[in-house]
Every structure is written in structure tokens, then in C-alpha cells.
Symmetry: C2
Subunit: 331 residues, 2 copies
């Protein structure tokens, strides 16, 4: 079985690849154990860092190109691909700065990819990474669930909502067997801040653990759904594995999430860090970021995901401890 991961050099993409390699196979539909032969990681550029050893794995191929270049996308399917994790995306803040780029990469790119998968005519398994940013608008309920209307307040969210619609229709038509994983904010991303409006939510753990200050651009009372990266990765893979008929006609599933305030996140860091020296949280509101975050769901009811067996950590502290284990050299 061959796996393709777009955005494969990104943090989540690399971890999905590592987890697949570690397992060696996927349990498709709960009973078809399919050995993994090759994993293609495609991305538009070299990442800030590679997880140790991943780049050198015999089963791993890394290729660089632009997902909004149709001929490049087609070239990814010279060898048959059986499972596709479509994670490549312009992120929220970047999409607000550059509407045309977000439409080109997130919408045109997804369509080129979906058409290339369809052209294989092998009913490939597809997991598309959507986002809670697909919700929004002045009629958004206090607690969103998988059946809440999607009227996103960012171009990024619009492209995610459209992606979910396309995944549903391509699946209904039998062009591929798709699922959308609607991601809450992922914590804790290692490395550097990015252009996601939620970037600070990882920064508020990462920078203080590195002894550096982190600017908090929103009110500490801001609520947001978050999930640890291990559960994000396991959930994405689980969505690829479970049978289509357990999901229903709407293939988009919001991953489990902790509905917490930014203050609770900061408190969890202090609680999990023990007697490590921590850099400071510097409260300094950024109107643009605060407005984007305020337009996202405050709470997500993710009972459907949990009923489908998608995992979540037991506590925020557990996520921080995992991050310390995985990414801090002196851990």
C-alpha cells in the first residue's frame, strides 16, 4: 500500500508519516490489514526541521512542488496511491492576508488533488484536514457540533468548508472514499510561530519552556477547542481506517477537543512544567488575531468523534508532558 501526505513536511504531516511507519500497516475497515510499502511526502518547500531519521527512511520519498500546479499534482500519482492524507493548506492568518493565494492553494489545489485521485479509479481512501474555523458567523451557536451550519468568518474557513462539501460529494459519487477531519487548534507545535492566528496557542507552551517570553494576543478568557498532537495524528489515521458506513453521508467529523480558556492553557503549562524555569506570558492584545480567534467556535461538542473511537488525551497537562518528552532536549 502506498500513502501520499500533502503538507507532508509540516509538523502534523511528519508525525502522521512517523506513526504510519511505526505501525507498519493500517487496519482498513477494521479487518483489512494493509502493509505500508511507500510514503510520499509532498510539500512546497523544505521544512524548518525534519524529525530525526524520517527523511532517511527507506519507505519515505520526499518531493517538493506546488499543490496549486495541476501538472505537479498529477505527477504525484505516477505510482498508484491507496491512502491520501491531504494536509497542505494556507493557514488562517495567511489566508486573511492573501485571499487569492488561499483560494488557489486550498480550493484549486484540493480540486486538482481530488481529480487526480478520482482518475486512479481505485476508490482510494482520503482524509482531508478541515478545521473548526469552518464554523463562524453571527449565528454560530455557543457550542458547535458536526451538524452546525458552516458560515466561516475567514477565507481559510471558507476553503475548509468547501473542502468538506467536495469530499462528501466525491465520496457519494464513488470517486474516492473520503473523510474530513475537522481539527481543533493543535497543541503543542514545536519549532517556530507560523501565520496561523492560533499560532500563539502553541507558543504559550513552547516559548516559556525554552525560557523565552511569549506574547498572548487575545484575552485570557478567550475560549477555544484544542487537542494534543498525538491525538490529532491518531484521529486522522483512525478516520482513514474506519468503515465508511459508520460515518454516514456527512464524512466530516470534528475531532475530540478540550474546550478551554487561554488562561487554562497557561495554567496547565505551569502545572505540568514542575520546577522548570519558564519564560513569561506577556499579555499584549493584537486586534487582528483577537478578532479572528473571537470568530471561531468557543466550544465544540465532539461526542460523534468519541463515539467513533477517536482519541483524546486525559488532560492538558498530559499533552504538555508529551511535548516535553518528545521535543525538549534536556527532557
Amino acid at each position: 500500500m502506498n500513502i501520499l501526505i500533502t503538507g507532508g513536511a509540516g509538523f502534523v504531516g511528519q508525525r502522521v508519516a512517523m506513526e504510519c511507519l511505526s505501525r507498519g500497516h493500517l487496519e482498513l475497515d477494521g479487518n483489512r490489514s494493509a502493509d505500508i510499502d511507500n510514503i510520499i511526502l509532498t510539500d512546497n518547500a523544505e521544512p524548518p526541521f525534519w524529525h530525526e531519521g524520517l527523511r532517511e527512511e527507506a519507505k519515505v520519498t520526499v518531493t517538493h512542488g506546488d499543490i496549486s500546479d495541476e501538472s505537479y499534482v498529477k505527477s504525484l500519482f505516477e505510482k498508484e496511491v491507496h491512502v491520501i492524507f491531504h494536509l497542505a493548506s494556507i493557514v488562517s492568518g495567511h489566508g486573511e492576508q492573501d485571499f487569492d493565494l488561499a483560494m488557489r492553494v486550498n480550493l484549486d489545489g484540493a480540486r486538482y488533488l481530488f481529480e487526480a485521485i478520482r482518475a486512479q479509479a481505485n476508490n482510494a481512501r482520503v482524509v482531508f484536514a478541515s478545521s473548526v474555523a469552518a464554523f463562524g458567523g453571527d449565528q454560530m451557536p455557543d457550542i458547535v457540533n458536526d451538524n452546525s451550519k458552516q458560515t466561516p468568518g475567514t477565507t481559510y474557513g471558507v476553503t475548509k468548508a468547501i473542502g468538506e462539501l467536495l469530499v462528501n460529494d466525491y465520496s457519494r459519487k464513488g470517486f474516492f472514499d473520503g473523510r474530513s477531519a475537522r481539527l481543533p487548534t493543535v497543541i503543542v507545535r514545536p519549532g517556530k510561530p507560523n501565520l496561523a492566528a492560533s499560532s500563539f496557542v502553541s507558543g504559550l507552551f513552547r516559548e516559556p519552556l525554552n525560557g523565552e517570553p511569549c506574547v498572548i494576543p487575545v484575552d485570557p478568557s478567550q475560549l477555544m477547542p484544542v487537542l494534543g498532537y498525538r491525538s490529532i495524528v491518531d484521529g486522522i489515521i483512525k478516520l482513514a481506517e474506519i468503515p465508511a458506513d459508520t460515518i454516514g453521508s456527512d464524512r466530516a467529523v470534528g475531532l475530540p477537543a478540550f474546550n478551554v480558556t487561554v488562561q487554562e492553557l497557561m495554567d496547565a503549562l505551569k502545572s505540568a512544567a514542575g520546577n522548570r524555569h519558564l519564560g513569561d506570558h506577556v499579555m499584549k492584545k493584537d486586534a487582528t488575531i483577537a478578532a479572528i480567534c473571537a470568530g471561531w467556535p468557543k466550544k465544540a461538542d465532539t461526542g460523534r468523534a468519541q463515539a467513533l473511537g477517536l482519541p483524546m488525551e486525559s488532560s492538558l497537562e498530559e499533552i504538555v508532558t508529551q511535548y516535553i518528552d518528545d521535543y525538549l532536549e534536556d527532557a
Copy 2:
């Protein structure tokens, strides 16, 4: 003020043009009376019929071209356009037969049009014709409203749901001032059947009034939201006229509708027809059409539209009587 109507040679397009000509101006935002100078009707081909005199109106220009041809779409904006009614569409049954055509015309075409409008940088008023077919799926509520999740069961519906998302985002970004009119099934369309799965809903009035039989391809107990063409046209124009801030961030409004069974529609025909001779209703189920119709909303709660002042007829019989007045020569 110049008006552009895509799908302008279609039944609704012609009637929107006729109503605009009859009024002579639009009442934008309730206080800016804007005289109508020109109306451009664009469509991909000559229609089965032109309403009498419309083609010859001095203010009317008819142009033929393919909305999925980007250069053609751009050419429609050589003269500045102030109000756009985007009605052109591959219809439901046709979209199920030809996925690629539906995506090309309904999605690519809409995007070319929206970009051409944006390029004018004049905050033009846009009304996009969506459809109750934007709802669907196995989680659809018994009664949909403007805040119900859109998980359409047809490719046509998917392109309409995407169109609504794009109209919202182009409006949020200030690229134009858009609104989506979510249309129930329009009755009574004159002329010939088309490839819409709902085509029979007009046929069940039209053919018997012409003394011809009409095949009813669904169960008489099938519920569907319907509205008369005069209210459809007035509602579309009203949506162009009302101020954006009365609508909110979700610019998509379901037009008022009668939630009725096919049996009630047939009964209304008999009630309104008086002692006219009527052709027969021939009950003969078509599995494909029945499945599409069964996947659409059974009932629509259109209280928001009514609060915004969008009209509806007082009864089904009134709609039939209007059709007889407007389209039957011996009326």
C-alpha cells in the same frame, strides 16, 4: 445603472428583466432610487421562447456565451455593471448526469463571474440564485431553516452551497455586496420540461392545462417547498434592494415557501382550473427522480425571509390563476 442577468434567457431571468423594466428603477437600501439604464441578458443559447417584446426593448442587450469561459465572462464587464443577478446554472438532474459540467459551469463559472465583479471595485450588488437543494444528507432536519447545516445530496446542491459560501466571503472582504436567494421549487414554469428533477412540479400544472397528460415520477405524499414565479422574481429583486446590515454575516436567505405534498399541488390545479378540461396525472414512479426529490428538504421554515419582507402568494390556487392569466392564450 446597468444590470447583468446570467441565465438571462431562462424563464426566471426573463421575468426578472421584465420586472426591472416595468419598475424602471431599483430602491437600493430603501432610499437610493437608481434608474435602470441597461439590462444585459447573457445565456449560453437562445431560449425556447422569448416573452413578448423583451428581446426588442431598447434597454435590453442579449449576448450568448459560456459562463465557464473566463474571457467571455470578463467581456461582460466592458461597461460597468452595478447589479448582477447570477441565475445561470446546470440544473439538478443534469448535474447528476454530468458532474464535471456541473462543477465547470456552476463552480468555475461563478468564480469567474465573482472575480470579474470584484475587478470592477465598485462594490456591486450581487444576487446569487441558490436552491433548497443545498440542504440534504442523512442528518437533515425535518424542517430546514437558514441556520441548518448544508450537506447536499446532489452535485447541483453542492455547487449551490459553495456559491453561498463564496458570496458570504466576497461580501465580507468587501469585493462586492452579495446576497444568495435560496429558491424553493418554482411553479409554474411555462414551456417545456427541463433536466431539473423538479421539472414535473411545473409539468403537473402546465401539461394538464394544455390538455395533455403529465407523468408524476414521485409518490403523491412527497413533500416539497414551492413558490410562485412572481414571488420568486419579487424576492430576488427585493434581496438586491435591502440593506446588507439587515441580513447579517450569512447573506443566504431561503425565500418564502409553501410546504406542500405533490397531492396538494395536483388538488390546487383542479381547484383553480374551474371547468377547464384538464389532461391526466399519470402516476409512474421514476426511481432516479424520486430519490433526488426525497433527498431534498420536505419543509422549509422561511420566517427570516418573511421578516425581511420577501413576498409569497396567498395560496397555491393564486399561483395557478396567475399562470393561466400570464401564459394561456385562451385565458
